[in-house]
Amino acid sequence: MDENDSRQRHPPAEAEEPADALPNFEAQQAFGRVIEQLRAEPAAEPAADFTLRVMAGISEVQSEMTDAATAARQLKKRTASLLRYLTETPSLSDIALCFLLAGFFYFLLGVIFFLGIQNLEPLPETAGWLRLQPQVAMLTAGVLGTLGLLLLLVAGGFALRLARLGTIAYIGFSVFNGIWISLENTGPFTPIGLLCFTAAPVLLGLFLAASLQRYHRRAAAG
């Protein structure tokens, strides 16, 4: 037999004939034999452990769903606590800690840059500003760390004003830094580099500025 003939062939879609016009076809002799044969076919039984397997499958799915629900609840709880932390007015020591942590982050970044820059010998001579990034990171670490220490140790209006000015200068410098690097180095990854060197510091700066602003508002309100 031709292989194509052996494949399932579907008949054309059924014609739209009104079913009410159908005679009682099941009583017709021509179909009676086939219907009798179909009805006489013995019923098959699934495997003896079928129910057990279905219930095991249900338990498995339920357990997965419980795990997912627990994870979702935890995520919701953590998000809520993070949002609460971000929106609640922080204490001055909290803000100082944020500045110190940001400074520490830049210190680590500076160390990584110092170690990594040695492997960037093929950099073009024009990429002078990129070569200075370890120093830039260390300087930023120093500024942020000093501001954090000032807030922690000196407190008061002077430290707060200095921290606000320092934060604005940090944001401005981060944008300038990112743009300068991207101008010096053109390549397919330049936009990604620009984003990394600008977006993350700007977000960090905005977070620090918002914390200072919230604290200032509360202090002004008494």
């Binding site: 052996s6 008949p11 059924e14 076809f25 009805r39 699934p46 079928f50 219930m55 499958g57 249900i58």
Partner: protein, 207 residues
């Protein structure tokens, strides 16, 4: 009208809703046969039928919260089964006749103890299974629901989500086509039957 079975099903479903997951096993026990048979007649493969029946019950369990409290479980479950089988067949269209032969092996044995009768019975069932596989999916499910599951045209219409007239037409077209195919097979078999008196000519390897 609700039968005692429908009321019993709803009682079990309420128990499942209340958190008694194991009560669902009673529903599986009640309907595993019909669901498995539907999948087996549709796919002609025991393995596929078991997998599809399991998938049906799993989907039914997961969708049980959408079940209407005054609804009938049996047509609802069959709708899930039909859709599950239909999706499977659309993704894995059976190739005939290899699938046929395999399907015939998977079909249950008849009650006859005479080996000759058993063989004839098996051949006949194999022919029916094969002819059934040649119907379109819609016609096949209508025929299976009507004659293997003994559903009314109203129930077939509800399960397949079509008007009653369409359900009736699908059964009619299906049975008409099955009848034609089985008659053709009978004729072919009659042509291939050996004559009553042995012929002395060599058969040249013909089957």
């Amino acid at each position: 009208m609700d039968s005692e079975q429908d009321r019993s099903d709803r009682r079990i479903i309420r128990q499942v809703w209340q958190g008694h997951t194991q009560a669902f096993a009673r529903l599986v026990d009640s309907y595993k046969g019909p669901v498995f048979n539907l999948a087996l007649r549709m796919t002609a493969s025991r393995q596929d039928a078991e997998d599809l029946a399991q998938e049906t019950f799993l989907k039914a369990y997961l969708g049980l919260k959408r079940f209407k409290p005054d609804g009938r479980f049996f047509p609802w479950l069959f709708t899930i089964a039909v859709n599950t089988v239909r999706n499977h067949l659309k993704k894995n269209p059976p190739v005939l006749p290899a699938r046929w032969a395999a399907g015939a092996q998977d079909l249950p044995a008849g009650p006859d103890s005479d080996p000759q009768r058993q063989l004839e019975d098996k051949q006949q069932r194999s022919q029916i299974a094969g002819a059934l596989q040649r119907l379109s999916i819609e016609q096949r499910e209508a025929v299976v629901l009507r004659y293997y599951q003994d559903l009314s045209f109203d129930d077939i219409a509800a399960v397949c989500a079509v008007p009653v007239s369409t359900a009736k037409m699908r059964v009619y077209r299906g049975i008409q086509r099955l009848s034609t195919m089985l008659d053709e097979m009978l004729l072919r078999n009659a042509d291939n039957d050996p004559p009553e008196k042995p012929v002395k000519e060599p058969d040249n390897g013909r089957k």
